[in-house]
Symmetry: C2
Subunit: 271 residues, 2 copies
Protein backbone atom coordinates (compact mmCIF):
# COMPACT_ATOMS: atom_id res chain seq x y z
CA UNK A 1 0.00 0.00 0.00
CA UNK A 2 1.25 3.47 -0.85
CA UNK A 3 1.07 5.99 1.98
CA UNK A 4 0.33 9.68 1.48
CA UNK A 5 2.35 12.43 3.16
CA UNK A 6 -0.51 13.19 5.56
CA UNK A 7 -0.44 9.64 6.95
CA UNK A 8 3.14 10.13 8.16
CA UNK A 9 3.10 13.81 9.14
CA UNK A 10 3.03 13.14 12.88
CA UNK A 11 4.73 9.73 12.92
CA UNK A 12 7.95 9.20 14.92
CA UNK A 13 11.08 8.98 12.79
CA UNK A 14 11.63 5.18 13.11
CA UNK A 15 8.10 4.68 11.74
CA UNK A 16 8.74 7.04 8.84
CA UNK A 17 11.97 5.20 7.99
CA UNK A 18 10.23 1.81 8.24
CA UNK A 19 7.56 2.91 5.75
CA UNK A 20 10.26 4.24 3.43
CA UNK A 21 12.27 1.02 3.76
CA UNK A 22 9.37 -1.22 2.77
CA UNK A 23 8.56 1.01 -0.19
CA UNK A 24 5.26 2.33 1.16
CA UNK A 25 6.43 5.96 1.04
CA UNK A 26 8.52 7.46 -1.75
CA UNK A 27 7.82 11.19 -1.70
CA UNK A 28 9.49 14.32 -0.30
CA UNK A 29 10.51 14.36 3.37
CA UNK A 30 10.19 18.09 4.15
CA UNK A 31 7.96 18.44 7.20
CA UNK A 32 8.36 14.82 8.31
CA UNK A 33 10.14 13.66 11.50
CA UNK A 34 10.18 17.16 12.96
CA UNK A 35 13.18 17.80 15.20
CA UNK A 36 15.50 15.28 13.54
CA UNK A 37 18.39 15.97 11.20
CA UNK A 38 17.78 15.13 7.54
CA UNK A 39 20.63 14.59 5.11
CA UNK A 40 21.64 14.62 1.46
CA UNK A 41 23.24 11.40 0.22
CA UNK A 42 26.23 10.77 -2.02
CA UNK A 43 27.58 7.24 -2.60
CA UNK A 44 30.89 6.79 -4.46
CA UNK A 45 33.35 3.96 -5.00
CA UNK A 46 36.32 3.84 -2.59
CA UNK A 47 38.80 5.02 -5.25
CA UNK A 48 37.04 8.40 -5.15
CA UNK A 49 36.02 8.51 -1.49
CA UNK A 50 39.06 10.33 -0.07
CA UNK A 51 38.93 12.99 -2.79
CA UNK A 52 35.19 13.43 -2.27
CA UNK A 53 35.67 13.79 1.49
CA UNK A 54 38.45 16.34 0.84
CA UNK A 55 36.09 18.20 -1.51
CA UNK A 56 33.51 18.37 1.29
CA UNK A 57 36.08 19.53 3.86
CA UNK A 58 37.20 22.32 1.51
CA UNK A 59 33.61 23.38 0.77
CA UNK A 60 31.95 23.05 4.17
CA UNK A 61 29.08 25.42 3.43
CA UNK A 62 27.59 23.52 0.45
CA UNK A 63 28.89 20.09 1.62
CA UNK A 64 28.75 19.70 5.42
CA UNK A 65 29.57 16.05 6.16
CA UNK A 66 27.36 14.65 8.93
CA UNK A 67 28.09 10.94 8.45
CA UNK A 68 30.29 8.51 6.49
CA UNK A 69 29.82 4.75 6.21
CA UNK A 70 32.59 2.21 6.47
CA UNK A 71 33.64 0.98 3.01
CA UNK A 72 31.18 -1.66 1.84
CA UNK A 73 28.98 -1.37 4.96
CA UNK A 74 25.52 0.02 4.14
CA UNK A 75 24.64 0.70 7.81
CA UNK A 76 25.06 4.37 8.77
CA UNK A 77 25.93 3.54 12.36
CA UNK A 78 26.78 7.06 13.53
CA UNK A 79 23.47 8.55 12.32
CA UNK A 80 21.08 6.32 14.18
CA UNK A 81 19.82 2.90 15.06
CA UNK A 82 19.30 0.51 12.15
CA UNK A 83 19.77 2.90 9.22
CA UNK A 84 20.37 0.94 5.99
CA UNK A 85 21.42 3.36 3.28
CA UNK A 86 20.31 0.90 0.54
CA UNK A 87 16.63 1.15 1.44
CA UNK A 88 16.01 4.00 3.86
CA UNK A 89 15.93 6.95 1.42
CA UNK A 90 12.61 7.39 -0.46
CA UNK A 91 14.12 7.70 -3.95
CA UNK A 92 17.62 7.51 -5.39
CA UNK A 93 19.28 9.06 -8.46
CA UNK A 94 21.73 6.76 -10.26
CA UNK A 95 24.52 8.48 -12.21
CA UNK A 96 26.68 6.52 -14.68
CA UNK A 97 29.68 8.27 -16.26
CA UNK A 98 28.28 11.55 -14.94
CA UNK A 99 24.82 11.13 -16.48
CA UNK A 100 21.60 10.60 -14.54
CA UNK A 101 20.37 7.31 -15.99
CA UNK A 102 17.65 6.10 -13.63
CA UNK A 103 15.67 6.51 -10.42
CA UNK A 104 14.69 3.82 -7.96
CA UNK A 105 13.50 3.42 -4.39
CA UNK A 106 15.89 0.61 -3.36
CA UNK A 107 19.57 0.27 -4.33
CA UNK A 108 20.22 -3.15 -2.76
CA UNK A 109 20.99 -4.64 -6.18
CA UNK A 110 23.41 -1.80 -6.97
CA UNK A 111 25.31 -1.75 -3.67
CA UNK A 112 28.98 -2.82 -4.04
CA UNK A 113 31.58 -3.91 -1.48
CA UNK A 114 33.73 -0.93 -2.47
CA UNK A 115 31.09 1.75 -1.93
CA UNK A 116 31.24 4.54 0.66
CA UNK A 117 28.11 6.51 1.61
CA UNK A 118 28.31 10.16 2.64
CA UNK A 119 25.48 12.00 4.41
CA UNK A 120 25.59 15.80 4.06
CA UNK A 121 23.57 18.26 6.13
CA UNK A 122 20.59 19.96 4.49
CA UNK A 123 18.75 23.26 4.68
CA UNK A 124 15.67 21.89 6.48
CA UNK A 125 17.44 22.38 9.82
CA UNK A 126 18.00 26.11 9.44
CA UNK A 127 14.65 26.61 7.68
CA UNK A 128 12.91 25.24 10.78
CA UNK A 129 14.94 27.61 12.94
CA UNK A 130 14.13 30.73 10.91
CA UNK A 131 10.46 29.78 10.68
CA UNK A 132 10.39 29.42 14.48
CA UNK A 133 11.78 32.98 14.59
CA UNK A 134 8.76 34.17 12.58
CA UNK A 135 10.17 34.38 9.06
CA UNK A 136 7.68 33.32 6.38
CA UNK A 137 9.22 31.11 3.66
CA UNK A 138 7.34 31.51 0.38
CA UNK A 139 8.23 28.10 -1.08
CA UNK A 140 6.98 26.31 2.02
CA UNK A 141 3.81 28.39 2.40
CA UNK A 142 3.06 27.73 -1.28
CA UNK A 143 4.14 24.05 -1.38
CA UNK A 144 6.86 24.65 -3.96
CA UNK A 145 10.53 23.72 -4.16
CA UNK A 146 13.09 26.33 -3.14
CA UNK A 147 14.69 27.95 -6.24
CA UNK A 148 18.31 26.92 -6.89
CA UNK A 149 20.87 28.55 -9.18
CA UNK A 150 24.32 27.80 -10.56
CA UNK A 151 26.66 30.68 -9.72
CA UNK A 152 30.08 31.99 -10.67
CA UNK A 153 31.30 31.31 -7.11
CA UNK A 154 33.96 28.61 -7.53
CA UNK A 155 34.23 25.64 -5.20
CA UNK A 156 37.67 24.65 -3.91
CA UNK A 157 38.59 21.58 -6.00
CA UNK A 158 39.81 18.19 -4.75
CA UNK A 159 40.85 15.48 -7.21
CA UNK A 160 38.17 15.22 -9.93
CA UNK A 161 35.63 17.25 -7.93
CA UNK A 162 35.13 20.97 -8.48
CA UNK A 163 33.06 23.45 -10.47
CA UNK A 164 30.61 26.16 -9.53
CA UNK A 165 28.73 26.46 -6.26
CA UNK A 166 24.96 26.01 -6.41
CA UNK A 167 22.90 28.27 -4.14
CA UNK A 168 19.31 28.34 -2.94
CA UNK A 169 17.40 31.64 -2.65
CA UNK A 170 14.93 32.82 -0.04
CA UNK A 171 13.30 36.28 0.00
CA UNK A 172 13.82 37.95 3.40
CA UNK A 173 12.44 41.24 4.77
CA UNK A 174 15.17 43.86 4.31
CA UNK A 175 14.96 45.02 7.91
CA UNK A 176 15.51 41.49 9.24
CA UNK A 177 18.54 40.55 7.10
CA UNK A 178 21.02 40.66 9.97
CA UNK A 179 18.75 38.51 12.09
CA UNK A 180 18.42 35.75 9.48
CA UNK A 181 22.18 35.82 8.91
CA UNK A 182 22.84 35.36 12.63
CA UNK A 183 20.31 32.53 13.01
CA UNK A 184 21.57 30.52 10.04
CA UNK A 185 25.21 31.04 11.08
CA UNK A 186 24.39 28.92 14.15
CA UNK A 187 23.93 25.85 11.91
CA UNK A 188 27.30 25.11 10.30
CA UNK A 189 26.12 21.58 9.46
CA UNK A 190 23.12 23.04 7.57
CA UNK A 191 24.97 25.44 5.22
CA UNK A 192 25.57 28.17 7.84
CA UNK A 193 25.30 31.88 7.06
CA UNK A 194 24.30 33.02 3.55
CA UNK A 195 27.05 33.37 0.94
CA UNK A 196 25.44 36.41 -0.77
CA UNK A 197 22.52 38.82 -0.55
CA UNK A 198 21.23 41.47 -2.93
CA UNK A 199 22.21 41.74 -6.60
CA UNK A 200 21.90 38.27 -8.21
CA UNK A 201 24.15 39.31 -11.12
CA UNK A 202 27.07 39.75 -8.72
CA UNK A 203 27.25 35.94 -8.38
CA UNK A 204 26.42 35.19 -12.01
CA UNK A 205 22.64 34.80 -11.80
CA UNK A 206 21.18 36.50 -14.87
CA UNK A 207 17.49 35.97 -14.17
CA UNK A 208 16.17 35.47 -10.65
CA UNK A 209 12.85 34.34 -12.19
CA UNK A 210 14.50 31.40 -14.00
CA UNK A 211 16.09 29.06 -11.46
CA UNK A 212 18.17 26.11 -12.66
CA UNK A 213 16.27 23.81 -10.28
CA UNK A 214 13.11 24.32 -8.21
CA UNK A 215 10.41 26.96 -8.60
CA UNK A 216 10.64 30.70 -9.25
CA UNK A 217 9.93 32.65 -6.08
CA UNK A 218 8.87 36.32 -5.87
CA UNK A 219 11.05 38.91 -4.12
CA UNK A 220 8.91 41.79 -2.78
CA UNK A 221 10.00 45.45 -2.82
CA UNK A 222 10.55 45.35 0.95
CA UNK A 223 12.53 42.13 0.62
CA UNK A 224 16.06 41.16 -0.38
CA UNK A 225 17.13 37.98 -2.20
CA UNK A 226 19.33 35.97 0.17
CA UNK A 227 21.47 33.13 -1.17
CA UNK A 228 22.71 30.11 0.79
CA UNK A 229 25.19 27.43 -0.29
CA UNK A 230 23.14 24.47 -1.49
CA UNK A 231 23.40 20.69 -1.13
CA UNK A 232 22.90 20.31 -4.90
CA UNK A 233 26.51 21.54 -5.31
CA UNK A 234 27.97 18.04 -4.80
CA UNK A 235 25.56 16.54 -7.33
CA UNK A 236 26.77 19.09 -9.89
CA UNK A 237 30.38 18.24 -8.97
CA UNK A 238 29.70 14.52 -9.36
CA UNK A 239 28.16 14.96 -12.80
CA UNK A 240 31.16 17.05 -13.82
CA UNK A 241 33.61 14.41 -12.48
CA UNK A 242 31.99 11.69 -14.59
CA UNK A 243 32.51 8.81 -12.15
CA UNK A 244 31.63 5.35 -13.53
CA UNK A 245 28.87 5.05 -10.92
CA UNK A 246 27.53 7.36 -8.24
CA UNK A 247 24.27 7.23 -6.30
CA UNK A 248 22.53 10.15 -4.60
CA UNK A 249 19.14 10.81 -3.05
CA UNK A 250 16.51 12.35 -5.31
CA UNK A 251 16.45 16.06 -4.32
CA UNK A 252 13.85 16.73 -1.64
CA UNK A 253 13.66 13.07 -0.62
CA UNK A 254 16.25 12.97 2.13
CA UNK A 255 17.68 10.49 4.62
CA UNK A 256 15.91 10.92 7.98
CA UNK A 257 18.35 10.33 10.85
CA UNK A 258 17.98 9.75 14.60
CA UNK A 259 20.11 12.84 15.35
CA UNK A 260 18.34 15.73 17.09
CA UNK A 261 18.57 18.82 14.90
CA UNK A 262 19.87 20.72 17.95
CA UNK A 263 22.65 18.18 18.71
CA UNK A 264 26.14 19.68 19.11
CA UNK A 265 27.63 16.89 16.96
CA UNK A 266 25.83 14.54 14.52
CA UNK A 267 27.00 11.38 16.27
CA UNK A 268 24.48 8.83 17.54
CA UNK A 269 25.44 7.39 20.92
CA UNK A 270 26.28 3.69 20.80
CA UNK A 271 23.73 1.51 22.55
CA UNK B 1 70.69 32.05 14.93
CA UNK B 2 68.14 30.69 17.38
CA UNK B 3 65.33 33.07 18.24
CA UNK B 4 63.69 33.28 21.66
CA UNK B 5 59.92 33.37 22.12
CA UNK B 6 60.04 37.06 23.08
CA UNK B 7 61.60 37.98 19.71
CA UNK B 8 58.51 36.68 17.89
CA UNK B 9 55.76 37.58 20.35
CA UNK B 10 54.45 40.50 18.31
CA UNK B 11 55.54 39.35 14.84
CA UNK B 12 52.96 38.86 12.06
CA UNK B 13 52.18 35.22 11.29
CA UNK B 14 54.09 35.01 7.95
CA UNK B 15 57.23 36.16 9.81
CA UNK B 16 56.71 33.58 12.55
CA UNK B 17 56.30 30.82 9.95
CA UNK B 18 59.38 32.01 8.04
CA UNK B 19 61.51 31.81 11.20
CA UNK B 20 60.11 28.34 11.92
CA UNK B 21 60.75 27.24 8.31
CA UNK B 22 64.42 28.22 8.38
CA UNK B 23 64.90 26.50 11.74
CA UNK B 24 65.46 29.68 13.75
CA UNK B 25 62.51 28.97 16.06
CA UNK B 26 61.59 25.52 17.41
CA UNK B 27 59.66 26.11 20.61
CA UNK B 28 55.99 26.24 21.64
CA UNK B 29 53.60 28.44 19.66
CA UNK B 30 51.08 29.37 22.38
CA UNK B 31 50.78 33.14 22.44
CA UNK B 32 52.29 33.64 18.98
CA UNK B 33 50.41 34.95 15.90
CA UNK B 34 47.48 36.17 18.00
CA UNK B 35 44.19 36.05 16.13
CA UNK B 36 45.15 33.23 13.77
CA UNK B 37 44.05 29.60 13.89
CA UNK B 38 46.68 27.13 15.06
CA UNK B 39 46.42 23.43 14.32
CA UNK B 40 47.51 19.97 15.38
CA UNK B 41 49.16 17.90 12.65
CA UNK B 42 48.78 14.24 11.67
CA UNK B 43 50.45 12.83 8.54
CA UNK B 44 49.59 9.29 7.40
CA UNK B 45 50.11 7.23 4.27
CA UNK B 46 47.23 7.22 1.77
CA UNK B 47 46.22 3.63 2.61
CA UNK B 48 45.12 4.93 6.01
CA UNK B 49 43.93 8.42 5.06
CA UNK B 50 40.25 7.66 4.44
CA UNK B 51 39.95 5.71 7.70
CA UNK B 52 41.71 8.49 9.59
CA UNK B 53 39.41 11.12 8.07
CA UNK B 54 36.40 8.94 9.00
CA UNK B 55 37.79 8.67 12.55
CA UNK B 56 37.95 12.47 12.72
CA UNK B 57 34.41 12.88 11.34
CA UNK B 58 33.09 10.44 13.94
CA UNK B 59 34.96 12.16 16.77
CA UNK B 60 34.58 15.84 15.88
CA UNK B 61 35.19 17.14 19.40
CA UNK B 62 38.71 15.71 19.88
CA UNK B 63 39.53 15.69 16.12
CA UNK B 64 38.06 18.72 14.30
CA UNK B 65 39.51 18.66 10.76
CA UNK B 66 40.44 22.15 9.59
CA UNK B 67 42.57 21.20 6.56
CA UNK B 68 43.67 18.22 4.46
CA UNK B 69 46.46 18.17 1.88
CA UNK B 70 46.25 16.56 -1.52
CA UNK B 71 48.01 13.17 -1.52
CA UNK B 72 51.75 13.74 -1.91
CA UNK B 73 51.44 17.54 -1.95
CA UNK B 74 53.06 19.14 1.11
CA UNK B 75 51.45 22.55 0.52
CA UNK B 76 48.42 23.15 2.76
CA UNK B 77 46.70 25.36 0.21
CA UNK B 78 43.41 25.84 2.06
CA UNK B 79 45.06 27.03 5.28
CA UNK B 80 47.07 29.92 3.91
CA UNK B 81 49.58 31.28 1.50
CA UNK B 82 52.79 29.27 1.10
CA UNK B 83 52.38 26.78 3.95
CA UNK B 84 54.78 23.85 3.49
CA UNK B 85 53.90 21.16 6.01
CA UNK B 86 57.42 19.65 5.77
CA UNK B 87 59.11 22.69 7.33
CA UNK B 88 56.53 25.04 8.83
CA UNK B 89 55.89 23.29 12.16
CA UNK B 90 58.53 23.94 14.86
CA UNK B 91 59.06 20.29 15.86
CA UNK B 92 57.71 16.96 14.66
CA UNK B 93 57.17 13.58 16.35
CA UNK B 94 57.97 10.56 14.15
CA UNK B 95 56.09 7.34 14.98
CA UNK B 96 57.18 4.01 13.47
CA UNK B 97 54.99 0.96 14.05
CA UNK B 98 53.15 2.96 16.70
CA UNK B 99 56.26 3.92 18.66
CA UNK B 100 57.65 7.45 18.97
CA UNK B 101 61.17 7.00 17.61
CA UNK B 102 62.48 10.50 16.99
CA UNK B 103 61.93 14.27 16.90
CA UNK B 104 63.07 16.70 14.26
CA UNK B 105 62.37 20.20 13.02
CA UNK B 106 62.19 19.41 9.29
CA UNK B 107 60.61 16.34 7.67
CA UNK B 108 61.61 17.04 4.06
CA UNK B 109 63.69 13.86 3.96
CA UNK B 110 60.78 11.80 5.35
CA UNK B 111 58.01 13.15 3.11
CA UNK B 112 56.62 10.54 0.68
CA UNK B 113 54.49 10.83 -2.46
CA UNK B 114 51.76 8.81 -0.75
CA UNK B 115 51.44 10.97 2.36
CA UNK B 116 48.36 12.97 3.36
CA UNK B 117 48.58 15.74 5.97
CA UNK B 118 45.66 16.53 8.29
CA UNK B 119 45.42 19.74 10.30
CA UNK B 120 43.11 19.52 13.34
CA UNK B 121 41.81 22.47 15.35
CA UNK B 122 43.36 23.14 18.75
CA UNK B 123 42.31 24.56 22.09
CA UNK B 124 44.21 27.83 21.75
CA UNK B 125 41.24 29.33 19.90
CA UNK B 126 38.72 28.80 22.68
CA UNK B 127 41.29 29.57 25.38
CA UNK B 128 41.77 33.03 23.86
CA UNK B 129 38.00 33.50 23.83
CA UNK B 130 37.50 32.53 27.47
CA UNK B 131 40.46 34.64 28.59
CA UNK B 132 38.95 37.62 26.75
CA UNK B 133 35.79 36.96 28.80
CA UNK B 134 37.84 37.34 31.98
CA UNK B 135 38.50 33.71 32.95
CA UNK B 136 41.97 33.15 34.43
CA UNK B 137 43.71 30.01 33.12
CA UNK B 138 46.17 28.66 35.69
CA UNK B 139 48.46 26.84 33.23
CA UNK B 140 48.89 29.99 31.14
CA UNK B 141 49.33 32.34 34.11
CA UNK B 142 51.97 29.94 35.47
CA UNK B 143 53.67 29.06 32.16
CA UNK B 144 52.82 25.37 32.42
CA UNK B 145 51.26 22.86 30.03
CA UNK B 146 47.55 22.14 30.43
CA UNK B 147 47.01 18.78 32.22
CA UNK B 148 45.74 15.96 29.97
CA UNK B 149 44.23 12.62 30.97
CA UNK B 150 43.23 9.36 29.34
CA UNK B 151 39.58 8.65 30.10
CA UNK B 152 37.10 5.79 29.89
CA UNK B 153 35.09 7.76 27.30
CA UNK B 154 35.37 5.67 24.12
CA UNK B 155 35.98 7.21 20.73
CA UNK B 156 33.87 6.00 17.80
CA UNK B 157 36.25 3.72 15.85
CA UNK B 158 37.05 3.80 12.12
CA UNK B 159 39.30 1.15 10.57
CA UNK B 160 42.39 0.73 12.76
CA UNK B 161 41.72 3.95 14.70
CA UNK B 162 39.94 3.94 18.06
CA UNK B 163 40.58 3.78 21.78
CA UNK B 164 39.91 6.14 24.66
CA UNK B 165 39.34 9.88 24.41
CA UNK B 166 42.01 12.11 25.91
CA UNK B 167 40.77 15.24 27.69
CA UNK B 168 42.37 18.44 28.95
CA UNK B 169 41.32 19.99 32.28
CA UNK B 170 40.87 23.61 33.28
CA UNK B 171 39.65 24.77 36.72
CA UNK B 172 36.69 27.14 36.36
CA UNK B 173 34.80 29.18 38.97
CA UNK B 174 31.68 27.20 39.91
CA UNK B 175 29.38 30.17 39.40
CA UNK B 176 30.65 30.72 35.84
CA UNK B 177 30.39 27.12 34.58
CA UNK B 178 27.43 27.79 32.28
CA UNK B 179 29.19 30.80 30.81
CA UNK B 180 32.36 28.89 29.93
CA UNK B 181 30.28 26.07 28.43
CA UNK B 182 28.41 28.54 26.21
CA UNK B 183 31.57 30.33 25.06
CA UNK B 184 33.47 27.17 24.15
CA UNK B 185 30.41 25.70 22.38
CA UNK B 186 30.79 28.52 19.85
CA UNK B 187 34.08 27.00 18.64
CA UNK B 188 33.23 23.58 17.14
CA UNK B 189 36.59 23.56 15.30
CA UNK B 190 38.40 24.04 18.64
CA UNK B 191 36.87 21.12 20.61
CA UNK B 192 33.54 22.87 21.35
CA UNK B 193 31.72 22.55 24.68
CA UNK B 194 33.29 20.50 27.50
CA UNK B 195 32.60 16.75 27.56
CA UNK B 196 32.48 16.52 31.37
CA UNK B 197 32.65 18.61 34.54
CA UNK B 198 32.89 17.67 38.19
CA UNK B 199 33.85 14.21 39.47
CA UNK B 200 36.98 13.05 37.58
CA UNK B 201 36.32 9.41 38.55
CA UNK B 202 33.12 9.45 36.50
CA UNK B 203 35.25 9.47 33.33
CA UNK B 204 37.96 7.16 34.66
CA UNK B 205 40.42 9.69 36.06
CA UNK B 206 41.70 8.28 39.36
CA UNK B 207 43.99 11.12 40.40
CA UNK B 208 43.46 14.66 39.16
CA UNK B 209 46.93 15.52 40.51
CA UNK B 210 48.63 12.98 38.22
CA UNK B 211 47.92 13.89 34.59
CA UNK B 212 49.07 11.54 31.81
CA UNK B 213 50.55 14.52 29.93
CA UNK B 214 51.19 18.13 30.97
CA UNK B 215 51.38 19.62 34.45
CA UNK B 216 49.20 19.08 37.53
CA UNK B 217 46.89 22.06 38.05
CA UNK B 218 45.13 23.01 41.30
CA UNK B 219 41.33 23.07 41.54
CA UNK B 220 40.19 25.56 44.23
CA UNK B 221 37.24 24.98 46.57
CA UNK B 222 35.18 27.55 44.65
CA UNK B 223 36.14 25.92 41.35
CA UNK B 224 35.08 22.89 39.35
CA UNK B 225 37.27 20.70 37.15
CA UNK B 226 36.07 21.09 33.55
CA UNK B 227 37.17 18.61 30.88
CA UNK B 228 37.38 19.26 27.15
CA UNK B 229 38.07 16.77 24.35
CA UNK B 230 41.77 17.04 23.53
CA UNK B 231 43.81 17.03 20.34
CA UNK B 232 46.15 14.43 21.84
CA UNK B 233 43.37 11.86 21.25
CA UNK B 234 44.43 11.21 17.63
CA UNK B 235 48.07 10.73 18.67
CA UNK B 236 46.92 8.07 21.15
CA UNK B 237 44.80 6.47 18.39
CA UNK B 238 47.76 6.47 15.99
CA UNK B 239 50.05 4.79 18.51
CA UNK B 240 47.37 2.17 19.11
CA UNK B 241 46.89 1.60 15.36
CA UNK B 242 50.61 0.87 14.90
CA UNK B 243 50.96 2.37 11.41
CA UNK B 244 54.35 1.76 9.73
CA UNK B 245 54.99 5.50 9.72
CA UNK B 246 53.08 8.50 11.02
CA UNK B 247 54.25 12.04 11.65
CA UNK B 248 52.67 14.56 14.03
CA UNK B 249 53.59 17.93 15.50
CA UNK B 250 55.30 17.87 18.89
CA UNK B 251 52.53 18.78 21.37
CA UNK B 252 52.43 22.52 22.01
CA UNK B 253 54.38 23.33 18.84
CA UNK B 254 51.56 23.83 16.37
CA UNK B 255 51.06 24.77 12.75
CA UNK B 256 50.28 28.51 12.52
CA UNK B 257 47.80 29.18 9.70
CA UNK B 258 46.61 32.31 7.87
CA UNK B 259 43.00 31.65 8.94
CA UNK B 260 41.42 34.20 11.29
CA UNK B 261 40.38 32.46 14.49
CA UNK B 262 36.94 34.04 14.07
CA UNK B 263 36.47 32.81 10.47
CA UNK B 264 33.20 30.97 9.82
CA UNK B 265 35.06 28.28 7.85
CA UNK B 266 38.79 27.45 7.89
CA UNK B 267 39.25 27.97 4.16
CA UNK B 268 41.81 30.48 2.85
CA UNK B 269 40.51 32.48 -0.12
CA UNK B 270 42.37 31.74 -3.36
CA UNK B 271 44.49 34.64 -4.56
Amino acid sequence: MRLAFEALRDAPQPTVRAEIRCGAYAEHTAGLADGFLQANLVIVEDDYALDFMRFCQRNPKPCPVVGVSDTGNPMMTTLGRDIDIRTDVPSYNIYRDGVLTENCSDITALWQDNMVAFALGCSFTFEHAIMRAGFPLWHIDNDRTVPMFKTTIPTVPAGPFGGPMVVSMRAIAKDRLDEVKAISAQFPLAHGAPVHWGDPAAIGIDDIAAPDWGDATPVGTDEVAVFWACGVTPQAAIMRAGLPICITHKPGQMLITDISDTAETPIHAAE
